[in-house]
């Protein structure tokens, strides 16, 4: 097991751990904006930057994906690191001046405002929604679109996603709450001939996706998106009628 120091503290770390994991386990705080324990590291926000000394040279690395090594000396805070983190949060505050999570982080890092002309986005492009959908849900319903300054998270071609099961994991994981989902009782679909009522549905607003909800065979209340039950039922190898009743009627 590698021995290392973080901010001077001697630590024995498990093999394969990242600096961030080890630091947090030892009560050392490093700010992050694109990290989630359940997801693969992404390395995009760059807030978690720290300095590592490998003996021969020191350099700045992102702690969320840098594997610990024997003899590593890590500094989580110094003048450069603080200046960089402040600039990063100032950049995010410029992009998302009204996103609460960004403002909280700015407060924490002692940044009170931005010197750049502001935009009014909410998404910080941390990619957590995309990763949770791919890595945990396994649906791969959404991804990044465009590049450079126009990058966005979106459903394929900004159209209805055929793979979204309406599980809401993306909604839950989004740090800036910019993904919204709501269930409606009177969904309508617009066809060439006119509008048709389709009843209960779950709407994933960001992904332009509307999933009809299955209703309980017994009480008629909505259970979950029909497509989600199909997918999950298939995965679990359940009989086709296994998910026909809501929790209440089952009991």
């Amino acid at each position: 097991m590698p021995q290392l120091t973080i901010d001077g503290k001697q630590i024995t770390a498990p093999v394969g751990a990242t600096i961030l994991q080890v630091a947090r386990e030892n009560g050392i705080d490093i700010p992050t904006f694109c990290h989630h324990e359940a997801l693969e590291p992404w390395g995009a926000c760059r807030l978690c930057i720290v300095e590592v000394d490998e003996g021969s040279r020191t350099r700045l690395v992102t702690s969320c994906n840098f594997p610990v090594k024997e003899g590593l000396a890590v500094t989580t805070k110094n003048k450069s690191i603080i200046a960089i983190r402040k600039m990063i949060i100032e950049l995010l505050l410029t992009r998302c001046p009204n996103a609460q999570a960004v403002r909280q982080m700015a407060d924490k890092l002692g940044v009170t405002g931005t010197r750049f002309p502001i935009e009014n986005e909410f998404c910080i492009l941390c990619g957590m929604c995309v990763r949770v959908c791919k890595e945990i849900v396994g649906a791969q319903a959404i991804s990044f679109a465009s590049r450079g300054g126009n990058k966005k998270v979106a459903s394929p071609f900004f159209k209805r996603s055929g793979d979204c099961i309406g599980c809401g994991a993306c909604v839950y994981v989004c740090p800036t709450q910019c993904i919204t989902m709501n269930d409606v009782t009177e969904a309508t679909d617009v066809y060439a001939e006119g509008t048709e009522q389709v009843g209960y549905a779950r709407v994933m607003n960001n992904w332009r996706t509307r999933l009809p909800l299955k209703v309980c065979k017994s009480c008629g209340n909505p259970i979950a998106p029909e497509f989600q039950l199909q997918v999950l039922g298939k995965k679990a190898g359940l009989a086709p009628d296994a998910l026909d009743l809501c929790q209440g009627c089952k009991e």
């Binding site: 760059r46 690395v61 840098f66 960089i84 600039m87 990063i88 492009l125 590049r147 450079g148 300054g149």
Partner: protein
């Protein structure tokens, strides 16, 4: 036919020699993308038509680029027993007269550029002589190749065959000594010996980083794992002349041979060539080269009876600049979005599909057959202390003769610019030059005394990049140049990480403040502060080097930024700051500007300098354009 021994290769060499030096006249038309853009495709058709019409028996072959972009379309002709003569430009209209001269057994002196008495060859013990004996008197007035200033200081390693062989003929490549290095490597050398030779040669990556190729190969060979890969980077998404593409189009086999040798040395059975999309000619020639090599058994199983197996797959990728970055390129090969990922473990250890992977630039690969064929000592005899061999350089921008050259490391930029690029066009003054593309720097003209050397350029704050040299004259505004490159990066960054995606956006806004005259000292300080975070915290080198151009512009051309703060663009480029006026001392009262102005902002009586109404002026510059005496100033 399969080549399974060195003797087979020798036989094929004879075959190629016959193609290269036929009994008839051989007419070679440059047909790389640059040549085609200047009409070479039509010229080759016209030559075929005309030769048939005049019943002139000759062999017409497409060849690569000889680098003289300003003389294109170029045509070289070998008449049996006579020196080889280069002609240019030869346009479609010129063809009848041109062919008539050749059909009569003569020379088209009007279009002749230079003559070569012997073939440029690195491998032949005795270079092939086109003409025997002394030069005929009537040809003496055509300059000899060795006396042409453009070529005098060039040394061709990667481009050794460019313009001489038909890129679609493996036999011609073999005739010039091709695939002999591969035969030597796989039959006489161990993989370790090959790596040792490459390491000893001191070859460094030509893709921009300048990393030691031998070191990278060693790391990759030694990395734990079964499957490993060798990869070739043909992205070249930066603006410029397209050196690497031209190289690939002119001689695809040298790249392929290098890659196969690399595969043998590293222990890879599979190679990938990543080529950016929208580049059909290079792709076609490469595909053909692979087919030909496979047909002769130079790819596939048991290559040259050595037991070594190797296949190559071409993968067409996105055209974005960032797709050339190593981890983004590998993501592209894996079929994912071309986004960089952190590489705290080198890709030589954990790269494509997490296997050890060696990625090198096209030009790096093209050097390999020569290093193995002629030996590391020969190679490292060229260049400077730490930068060995040659570099292909594309010269563009404000030069008399835009061109593509290959020069030894250590060549002065002065030489490249003046002797090969021909210096600035008439009436202009060189202000600055740009190397290293969007991640390089802009340097003032006085720094032309720098030489081509990784360390020296690093010290000056720029880098060699992929080898583009852009000359910038006094008409350009350095604030505008910084804006141009930053705008490019905004569009080409992948947008994954915050410092680069958001940083480039803000950087561009800050620069734009100067172009519209509202820039301040505080903005300059903010640029510096922002640049620091971008350089230190961006995920890949695109973001890390993104502030480079603007920072060097500020460092060396601070006066221009200061002038913009005062609301003036000295070069008269930044539209919002332009105030045209007419210098009565220079004005000849010709009235051209009055007629040129689309909004009638200029008026006056014959015989005296007209007056310009700035309230009406839309800053289109039409008046400045037409004034012969440059009396319209900004």
């Amino acid at each position: 036919m399969r080549i399974s021994t060195a003797a087979d290769l020798e036989r094929l060499k004879q075959e190629g020699h016959k193609q290269l030096h036929p009994d008839t006249v051989r007419i070679m038309v440059g047909t790389a993308t640059c040549c085609l853009a200047r009409g070479a495709g039509k010229v080759i058709k016209a030559i075929e038509r005309e030769a048939a019409a005049q019943k002139f028996a000759c062999t017409i072959v497409p060849v690569g680029c000889i680098g003289l972009c300003h003389q294109e379309p170029t045509v070289e002709v070998i008449q049996p027993g006579k020196p080889r003569i280069a002609y240019g430009p030869v346009t479609v209209e010129d063809v009848p007269e041109f062919i008539k001269a050749l059909a009569a057994g003569g020379v088209d002196k009007k279009r002749a550029l230079f003559r070569s008495e012997q073939e440029y060859s690195l491998f032949a013990a005795e270079p092939y002589r086109y003409a025997q004996g002394a030069v005929a008197d009537d040809l003496k007035e055509i300059p000899a190749y060795s006396d042409v200033p453009f070529y005098k200081k060039q040394v061709k390693i990667c481009l050794r065959n460019a313009g001489t062989i038909n890129p679609e003929s493996i036999e011609e490549y073999i005739a010039m000594g091709g695939y002999a290095a591969l035969a030597k490597a796989v039959t006489q050398m161990t993989p370790e010996q090959v790596i040792h030779e490459v390491t000893k040669s001191n070859l460094r990556g030509r893709g921009g980083g300048g990393f030691s190729t031998g070191k990278k190969w060693t790391e990759c060979r030694k990395a734990p794992g079964g499957q490993r890969y060798v990869l070739c980077n043909v992205s070249e998404g930066d603006p410029g002349i397209g050196m690497h593409k031209s190289l690939l189009e002119s001689d695809p086999h040298t790249v392929l041979e290098g890659l196969i040798i690399g595969g043998y040395a590293i222990g890879a059975a599979q190679g990938y060539i990543y080529i950016s999309s929208g580049y059909p000619l290079g792709l076609k020639r490469l595909q053909k080269a692979i087919e030909q090599a496979a047909a002769y058994g130079l790819l596939g199983t048991n290559i040259l009876g050595s037991g070594f197996n190797f296949t190559v797959t071409i993968k067409e990728g996105g055209g974005a600049y960032v797709c050339g970055e190593s981890t983004a390129l590998m993501a592209g090969l894996e079929g994912r979005i071309g986004e960089p990922r952190p590489k705290y473990i080198h890709t030589a250890v954990k790269g494509l599909w997490d296997s050890p992977s060696d990625l090198n630039n096209v030009e790096t690969w093209a050097n390999v057959p020569v290093i193995i064929g002629k030996g590391a000592d020969w190679f490292s005899g060229i260049g400077t202390g730490s930068s060995k061999g040659t570099k292909v350089i594309g010269i563009s921008g404000s030069v008399k003769t835009p061109c593509l050259v290959e020069v030894p490391m250590g060549t002065l930029f002065k030489e490249i610019f003046n002797e090969m690029g021909g210096g600035v066009p008439a009436k202009r003054k060189l202000k600055a030059f740009q190397t290293g593309g969007p991640s390089g720097g802009v340097l003032p003209a006085r720094m032309l005394s720098l030489n081509l050397d990784y360390e020296e350029m690093g010290k000056a704050g720029t880098n060699l990049g992929s080898g583009g040299f852009i000359a910038i004259d006094d008409r350009a505004c350095m604030v505008d140049i910084a804006r141009f490159f930053t705008q490019f990066l905004l569009e080409e960054s992948c947008g994954k990480c915050v410092p680069c995606r958001e940083g480039v956006k803000r950087l561009l806004q800050l620069i734009n403040n100067f172009t519209i005259g509202i820039g301040t000292e505080e903005h300059l300080t903010l640029i510096k502060e922002l640049a620091f975070a971008m350089e230190k915290a961006s995920l890949c080198d695109l973001g890390k080097t993104a502030p480079s151009v603007v920072q060097y512009a500020i460092k060396y051309f601070k006066d221009e930024f200061e002038a913009h703060m005062q609301g003036q663009c000295p070069a008269g480029v930044c539209k919002d700051l332009i105030l045209y006026s007419i210098d009565a001392k220079l004005c000849t009262a010709c009235g051209a500007c009055i007629r040129a102005c689309p909004v009638n902002a200029i008026s006056g009586d014959p015989g005296s300098a007209p007056t310009l109404d700035m309230k009406k002026c839309i800053k289109c510059g039409a008046c400045k354009e037409v004034c012969d005496v440059e009396a319209i100033t900004t």
